[in-house]
Every structure is written in structure tokens, then in C-alpha cells.
């Protein structure tokens, strides 16, 4: 969030990412790795919604990519009642699982079921295998995960938040693709998001 003055002239293009996944699949760690480029050895319990913003300036002279990263508080099954507002306007959903934990892989299906399919929630889904640094403990093979992703019409990535493998590449790649798609979209309104005026609703939605 540096250079606030410098970049204020640019228009922000907001893209919302959701990070879902089973307990201890590394959602918060992945988020922190990407947004702050740190990895805390300490475990964190996310309560409520964890939220980070990442700006990318060098993509286009006129626009500034603003990635909103949402990380949902899950933990137990009983938190399923997370309101649909969480999913609203999300451009891409990343469902994480731990490649060393079969249960977290099975949970991906549950998460996929929970994603609402309404007109205001059009998003791409990515399935992400985390913790690939623990190769020796691996239970879910790459092939199995790819197959699963194909069956669910999702793209598959493998990352390691701890060793910082592929985390930035993944989010950057997806973010950039959505960014260009958005600014090249003829329907994209050049709404000026002045700091005081509320942004129009269509501003956040990729249709």
C-alpha cells in the first residue's frame, strides 16, 4: 500500500478472491504469504473473516489492480452458515486442501457444494493443493488431484505457503487474467472511485 499519493490518479480495479478450505489446510498462512510475504510458524485461528489487500500497479498505466483476499472462518462444520454476502462479487474462489491430509481433500467437495450459483456470483474455482514441501508425507497424488479438479471443472494448482512455492505465481496469474478480462470488457464502467463517493455496485462485479 505504498505510494498512495502516486497511485491515487489510477483507477482501481477491484478483484475479490475467496480462500476456502478445511481446517488447518493453510488458508491463513497462504494469505499471509501472498499479502505480506511472511510465514508464521505459529498457528492462527481465524475467527470471523480474515482480510488482506494487495495492490499491483505495473500491469496497466491507467488502472491499478486491487486484490481483495478473503479468508473465511470455518474450523467446524457448524460455521457453514456463513452468509452468502461472503461469496458476493467474488471473482475467483480458491479451495485449499492439504496434500498430506486426505480428510481435507474430501472436504473440498463439501466446500464446492457450498458455493452458491446465482447471477451475482459468477466466479472461477481453483483447487489448490497446499503443503507440497512435505513430499514424504504426501497422501494425495498430483494426478488424483488433477483428475478431481477436471471432474469439477476447476483448475488445479500446487503450492507451499511455507516454502513459498508457487503462491505468488498462482495469485498473480489468476489476478492478472481477471484484470485484463475486466478492463477489456466493453461493459466495464469507468466509475471513478473517489474516496468519499460510494462505488457503483457494478463496479465490483465481473459479468
Amino acid at each position: 500500500m505504498a505510494n498512495n499519493n502516486n497511485t491515487q490518479e489510477k483507477e482501481r480495479v477491484i478483484i475479490k478472491f475467496l480462500i476456502l478450505g478445511g481446517s488447518q489446510s493453510g488458508k491463513s498462512k497462504t494469505l499471509l504469504r501472498y499479502a505480506d510475504n511472511i510465514f508464521e510458524n505459529q498457528h492462527i485461528i481465524t475467527i470471523g473473516v480474515e482480510f488482506r489487500i494487495k495492490y499491483i500497479d505495473d500491469l496497466d498505466p491507467n488502472y491499478r489492480l486491487c486484490l481483495q483476499m478473503w479468508d473465511k472462518y470455518r474450523g467446524c462444520e457448524r460455521f457453514r452458515s456463513t452468509p452468502h454476502t461472503f461469496y458476493r462479487n467474488a471473482s475467483a474462489i480458491f479451495v485449499l486442501f492439504d496434500v498430506t491430509d486426505r480428510e481435507s481433500f474430501n472436504y473440498v467437495k463439501e466446500e464446492l457444494k457450498g458455493i452458491p450459483h446465482t447471477s451475482e456470483c459468477i466466479h472461477e474455482v481453483y483447487i489448490v493443493g497446499n503443503k507440497i514441501d512435505l513430499e514424504s508425507k504426501r497422501v494425495i497424488s498430483r494426478e488424483e488431484a488433477i483428475q478431481f479438479a477436471q471432474d469439477n471443472a476447476a483448475k488445479y494448482y500446487e503450492i507451499s505457503a511455507k516454502e513459498n512455492i508457487n503462491v505468488h505465481q498462482m495469485f498473480d496469474e489468476v489476478g492478472k487474467a481477471l484484470f485484463y478480462k475486466k478492463i477489456n470488457d466493453p461493459n466495464f464502467t469507468n466509475a471513478k472511485p473517489t474516496s468519499s463517493a460510494p462505488p457503483p455496485k457494478s463496479y465490483c462485479i465481473i459479468q
Binding site: N41, H43, G75
Partner: protein, 718 residues
């Protein structure tokens, strides 16, 4: 040594292609066919795993070799019939091929024999013991560290992996059986049948091994082979997971016991063979079996300090409580978890960085003269407050919280008497007196929520010195409190967020008191936090509804702004209302808020929320969504003047009548799956969750107003 020169010329030719360096066991010396015995080359063997024990044997080989060789010379003289001679030759050819580790040749030979005598006969032949060391061919191949395909070949052709074998002697252990000439000659008659191990000698070895176990240290016991074991035990002891998997795939019993009742899993755990443990657990072996010392694999792994193995076992159904409750005295290994969160600092370094709440900071805490003086003053103040509190506690009025108590707790409860004050305020001490043995009874029972609790204990307040050590004192207390609560109230069980509240209680209260205080926080009407953690989180929806109304009423501008940028209160306030600001504000401030919760009840949280927003209103106004969120995040590091803030909250305290009036307007909307529960009264707490408790005739806990009266009368009588 050279007395056993019975070899054929063909054998010798084959042997020259591959030097007979495989002779590193005394038994090997005795096989007649291996007459080119050059025992001096033992150390050049490619045996990697068996190296240690066999190296030490070098000295013994000469003497033992001689004794055995006398035996082996007698074998051919007894076998008289040609068929037997032939089979004997076949057998010895197989043995020699195993010794050469020549799987291609063995494949050919086995096929040839199979075509000649049939599969059944071959199977029988393969299960014949090698006369000199009484090993099975399969076990022998393992000892010689043969290639995997050779082992597979034996298995596919019918070698029984579950036969019990007396392992070859180790340098130090005494359970060696050298067969006397008589016994071997007698076993010659049933040579072809899989000879069961001589029962007499096995029993003696058994008792010997057991005696060893008693006299040796436990560690040695687990490092030694038993007097009788199956092939899988050998692979596990040497950490050869590939061969172990081969055996398991070919009908080896994965729960087979050796003569001291150790399963392969126990042996793998005791020897730190992580890969074997993983494969065994994945193969769904029985993890609950106990050995002769009455220990399961998990006991052993904890004892030996193999955290990754313990974790693997518990994550596959092992008893998680054991990791908290089983504390063997360990000599060498440190108890830090394998993730080694803090091992890069030594303890003194950490102590320098601990603040007064036990939280470990990034930097050593340096105090200048001013802060020291200030601190000294505050400590003196606290001491005088302590004595005042103590006199208050002596004549505590349970039925009413006096204004004196209120004003004192607004000033902050001194940490050293927080235990007493909190339990008096919450009435947890009364509850405890009513159910004196409940905690002790439940703490030894198993809860279905253990797995989830274990996960969360691992990450609750790990930055605090009390909870820093994995499975340390603090974590044990926290685990016990949460587990007992999950057993006590099975409807709620365990829900994320409870761990944070329980952690704070555990910091100031002993585990039993912490449990009862948690119980009161959950079930007493004044706090009724139970609804927060029920399925579907009914209370949080209600709370957010009330909060939104209050927000609009007190801060109309800010609420409009938040609405315009689509920042719903669900996003930022959920956390506040579930765990009472524990991770959203500086720790000292949230502790003071908790003091207030105990006095004023749950509803004080609304006042805190409104006051917080009011304080930061100017920073929020005019900001975009993400900047507002940054402001929320900055709360945690904001330098609050805690006294000022708390006074501010009390000054603007929202009357509970007002809150109740709004609550009445709340109509639960079907949002989540469990939201229909909101209006219905919560299911009665299952106060007695086990038959034991009924037997102990624990009185039901009073939960409504009528019962409250009873409780007080009970206390006054006392």
C-alpha cells in the same frame, strides 16, 4: 573352517561371478554349499541396515562357525533317498541364490522346480527352514538385504510371511540358540514341513527376553528384537518400508505379535521408523494393541520423543488425550514439538521478551527509568487494591453485585486475584461445590471432539509463554478444560472460539476452576454464551441484529458510510462478539473488558463495540472499504490508555433494558442451516453425560431462576 568343502563345481563357478561376501552371519558359514567361505571379507558386504549388529559379530564367527559346521556335515549323510536328496539340492540351490542376491537366476530356478514338482510342493519347499539357523528363506533374504524383487519372488511362490523366526543373534543379547547336533538331526526328518519353532527353547527365550525387559532400560527393550518374530518385524526394525509394504501386500499379518507381544507398529514407533509407521497406519493396522509392558505404539512413541510418529498415530485414531496426559520421564530428548516454533531462541532470551501477561514479544523488553517508576507505582496501587478486594471477597454477597464491586472492577481486577474474583463473580465456585467430583470423573473420559480440540489447542495463544510448549502444562490445562466441557455439554461439544476464551481462563485459573467458570459463562443467563457456539451460531445472528440497530442509533453517520461501502457488521464484529475482543484489541485492554463481562454480563460487549467505533469514527469516515478494514486491523496494535477506554465504555454504557427491547424485535431469518434453533430454547444441557455420574448422584445444576434461589440457600447453609 574348511571342513565343509562339499561344493559342486557349478556352484563354485557361479560364486566366482559374485564374490561370496555375503557371509556375515555365523549361520551363513554353515551352509554346505557356500564352501568358498571367506569369512574375513565380512565388512565389505552391501548390507546397510543389518550392518550394526552384524559387525559386532565378526569376532564370534570363528567359534560359532565351527560348531555349526559340524552339524551341517551330518545332513547329507542322513538323507538317503534320492528324491529327498534332490529336494535338498533344490533347497540348497535356492539358499545359495538368495545368498548371491541373484533374483533372475532364482526366478528361473523356481520356475524349473515348479514345473518339476508342482506349485504346492514348491510352496512347501520354500517354507522349509534353513537347518542351520532355523530361519525361513524369506527371513533369510531379508537378513541378507536382498533385492525387493527377490523378496517378492519368494512371496509370490508361496513363502509364508507370518512364520515366527528366532532372529540371528545380536552382539550383546543372549537369546541365541545354536542348535545342538541332536536337535538338528531330529528336525531333519520333518525338514520339508515348515518346522514350528521348538517350543521348549522358545519358552526359555521368552522368559529371558522378558527378564531382559525388566532389567534393561525400557529404551533398550524396544531396540532389541524379540526371541521370536515374523519377517515384518525385521523390516520394521530396520526401517525398510519398501519391503514391509511388499510383505503387507502379500498377506503378511500387519498386527502380528512377536514373542513379547509387540506389533510391527510398536516396533516401528520405538525405533523411530516414521515411514513404516505411516504405511502401517495407512494399511489400517490396529493401533490399540498393547505389548507385554502394557504400552501401545503411541505410548512408546511419546516415550521416545518421536513427535511426528505420535502425531501420525493420533491423527489416525490414536488417543489424543494420551499426548496430554502421558508424561514419561525422559532423559535426553527435549519435548519441543517437531514444528520447533521457538527452538531458535534459548530460554533466557525468551524470558527477556515476555511481558507481564506472558506474551512473548518480538523484541526484548527494555524499560527506561520512567516506565519503571510508573510500573512501580502501578504495582503498589494494585497491592492496595488486592487487599481491598480480599476484604470484599470475605463478605461476598452472591445475590447482588454491589456498586462497590462494580466500581472496583471498572478500575481493573489485579491479576493475582483474578482467579478468586472471576469465580466469585461468575458463581463458578458455587457450581463447583455442588459438583465436587464431576471434573475429575470427566477428565479421564474420551470425547468425540478431542481431535478438533487438539488442533485448536495447538494454535491458541501460542505466543504466550504459558501455552508455548506443545503438550506442556498450559496446553494440558486447556485441553482438559475443553474436553471436559465437551463431555459435560454434548450438544455444544466443542466449537472454534471456545479455545480462546478457555485460554484466558486457564491463564488465571487452575483447570478445574477454569472449567467451572467456562461453564458459568456458557450457561448462566447473565452471560449465556452457549448460544454463540451452538450449531448454526444462533446467538451471533441475534447479536449482530442488535448491534446493527444500536449502531444506527448511536452512530448514524458512520453506519451510513459503512452501508455505502458495503461493509457489513458481520465482517468485522463477528469476532468481537464471539470471543470478546480477545484477538482484536491489545491483550491488556481485552482483559479489562473481560473483567467488565464478569460484572456486567455479555451485553457490555455492545457498549464496547459502539465506543470503539465512536473513538475511530473520524478515521473511518470517507475511507474506502479496504482502508476501513485496515483501521480495524490497527486496533490490535493501537496504544490504548486502558483506564481511559474502560471509563469511556462505562460512561456510555448502553442500558440492558434498551438491548432487551431490541432483542424482542429480532425475528430469526432462515439464513444458515441451524438458524431455526434461534427462537426455540436451547436444548437442555446434558448435565450428566455418563452412567458413572448418575451413580455418584451428582445433583443437577440449577439453570433457571428458580434453581438459583435454591443454590444460594445451599451456599448460605454451608
Amino acid at each position: 573352517m574348511d571342513t565343509t568343502t562339499n561344493s559342486t563345481t557349478t556352484e563354485e563357478e557361479e560364486l566366482t561371478t559374485r564374490p561370496a561376501t555375503k557371509l556375515h552371519t555365523p549361520a551363513a558359514v554353515s551352509i554346505p554349499l557356500t564352501t568358498t567361505t571367506t569369512t574375513t571379507t565380512t565388512h565389505a558386504t552391501p548390507m546397510s541396515n543389518g550392518m550394526q549388529e552384524n559387525d559386532a559379530l565378526d569376532g564370534d564367527i570363528a567359534t560359532q562357525g565351527v560348531t555349526i559346521s559340524t552339524t551341517s556335515t551330518t545332513i547329507p549323510s542322513i538323507d538317503t533317498t534320492t528324491i529327498e536328496q534332490r529336494e535338498n539340492n533344490d533347497f540348497q540351490e535356492i539358499v545359495s541364490l538368495i545368498k548371491e542376491n541373484n533374483s533372475n537366476q532364482l526366478d528361473r530356478v523356481l520356475n524349473e522346480i515348479k514345473s518339476r514338482i508342482g506349485a504346492e510342493q514348491l510352496k512347501e519347499l520354500l517354507n522349509t527352514r534353513i537347518p542351520d539357523n532355523n530361519l525361513t528363506l524369506l527371513y533369510y533374504a531379508l537378513v541378507l538385504d536382498c533385492y525387493n524383487d527377490l523378496v517378492l519372488l519368494l512371496l509370490l511362490n508361496g513363502s509364508d510371511p507370518n512364520q515366527m523366526v528366532t532372529p540371528l543373534p545380536q552382539a550383546s543379547s543372549n537369546n541365541i540358540v545354536l542348535e545342538s547336533p541332536e536337535s538338528s538331526s531330529s528336525s531333519n526328518s520333518n525338514n520339508r514341513a515348515p518346522s514350528p519353532p521348538p517350543t521348549e527353547s522358545s519358552s526359555t527365550i521368552n522368559s529371558k527376553a522378558y527378564a531382559n525387559a525388566k532389567t534393561d532400560t525400557v529404551e533398550e527393550f524396544y531396540k532389541k528384537p524379540a526371541s521370536l518374530e515374523a519377517a515384518i518385524h525385521y523390516t520394521v526394525r530396520h526401517g525398510d518400508s519398501d519391503k514391509m509394504n511388499l510383505l503387507i501386500d502379500n498377506h503378511a499379518d500387519k498386527d502380528i505379535l512377536d514373542s513379547v507381544q509387540r506389533t510391527p507398529l510398536i516396533l516401528a514407533s520405538s525405533n523411530g521408523r516414521m515411514e513404516c509407521v505411516r504405511c502401517l497406519v495407512l494399511a489400517k493396522c490396529n493401533i490399540t494393541l498393547k505389548d507385554i509392558l502394557d504400552k501401545t505404539a503411541l505410548h512408546v512413541a511419546i516415550e521416545q520423543g518421536y513427535d511426528d510418529i505420535s502425531a501420525t498415530i493420533t491423527s489416525n485414531g490414536g488417543d489424543i488425550s494420551l499426548r496430554y496426559h502421558y508424561k514419561p520421564i525422559r532423559s535426553s530428548r527435549l519435548t519441543f514439538s517437531s514444528s520447533a516454533d521457538y527452538t531458535d531462541f534459548n530460554d533466557v532470551e525468551i524470558l527477556k521478551r515476555v511481558d507481564r501477561y506472558g506474551n512473548i514479544k518480538d523484541q526484548p523488553i527494555v524499560k527506561d527509568e520512567y516506565t519503571r517508576k510508573k510500573e512501580k507505582k502501578s504495582v503498589e496501587k494494585e497491592l492496595s487494591r488486592c487487599s481491598k478486594w480480599l476484604s470484599l471477597l470475605k463478605k461476598w454477597n452472591y445475590s447482588k453485585i454491589t456498586s462497590k464491586v462494580k466500581s472496583k472492577s471498572v478500575k481493573g481486577v489485579p491479576p493475582r486475584i483474578r482467579c478468586e474474583v472471576w469465580s466469585h463473580l461468575s458463581h463458578s465456585n458455587l457450581q463447583e461445590a455442588l459438583n465436587p467430583n464431576l471434573f475429575e470423573t470427566l477428565v479421564n473420559q474420551h470425547s468425540s471432539s478431542e481431535v478438533v480440540i487438539d488442533l485448536d489447542v495447538n494454535r491458541a495463544f501460542r505466543g504466550n509463554i504459558f501455552f508455548r510448549e506443545r503438550y506442556g502444562v498450559g496446553q494440558v490445562a486447556l485441553f482438559n478444560v475443553l474436553k471436559v466441557y465437551s463431555l459435560y455439554d454434548t450438544t455444544v461439544g466443542y466449537t472454534q472460539g471456545m479455545s480462546s476464551i478457555a485460554s484466558v481462563l486457564c491463564m488465571y485459573l487452575p483447570e478445574k476452576e477454569a472449567f467451572w467458570t467456562l461453564e458459568r459463562l456458557m450457561n448462566r443467563e447473565k452471560y449465556s454464551m452457549r448460544d454463540l457456539f451452538l450449531n448454526g451460531l444462533p446467538k451471533i445472528h441475534k447479536t449482530i441484529f442488535v448491534f446493527d440497530k444500536l449502531f444506527v442509533h448511536y452512530l448514524p453517520n458512520l453506519s451510513k458510510h459503512f452501508e455505502s461501502i458495503n461493509l457489513g457488521s458481520m465482517i468485522y464484529a463477528t469476532k468481537w462478539f464471539i470471543i470478546g475482543y480477545l484477538d482484536s484489541l491489545p491483550f491488556n485492554v481485552s482483559l479489562r473488558i473481560w473483567d467488565l463481562i464478569f460484572v456486567y454480563g455479555y451485553n457490555i460487549l455492545y457498549s464496547v463495540a459502539i465506543c470503539l467505533l465512536r473513538m475511530f469514527e473520524k478515521q473511518f469516515l470517507g475511507k474506502a472499504f479496504e482502508n476501513c478494514y485496515e483501521v480495524f486491523r490497527s486496533f490490535e496494535t493501537y496504544q490504548f490508555d486502558e483506564d481511559e477506554f474502560i471509563n469511556f465504555v462505562i460512561k456510555h454504557k448502553i442500558k440492558s433494558k434498551k438491548i432487551e427491547a431490541i432483542e424482542k424485535k429480532y425475528v430469526p431469518v432462515g439464513g444458515g442451516s441451524g438458524s431455526q434453533q434461534i427462537n426455540s430454547p436451547p436444548p437442555a444441557v446434558s448435565l450428566i453425560s455418563s452412567a458413572d455420574l448418575i451413580q455418584n448422584s451428582v445433583p443437577l445444576l440449577p439453570n433457571n431462576k428458580k434453581d438459583k434461589k435454591k443454590r444460594f440457600s445451599f451456599f448460605q447453609k454451608k
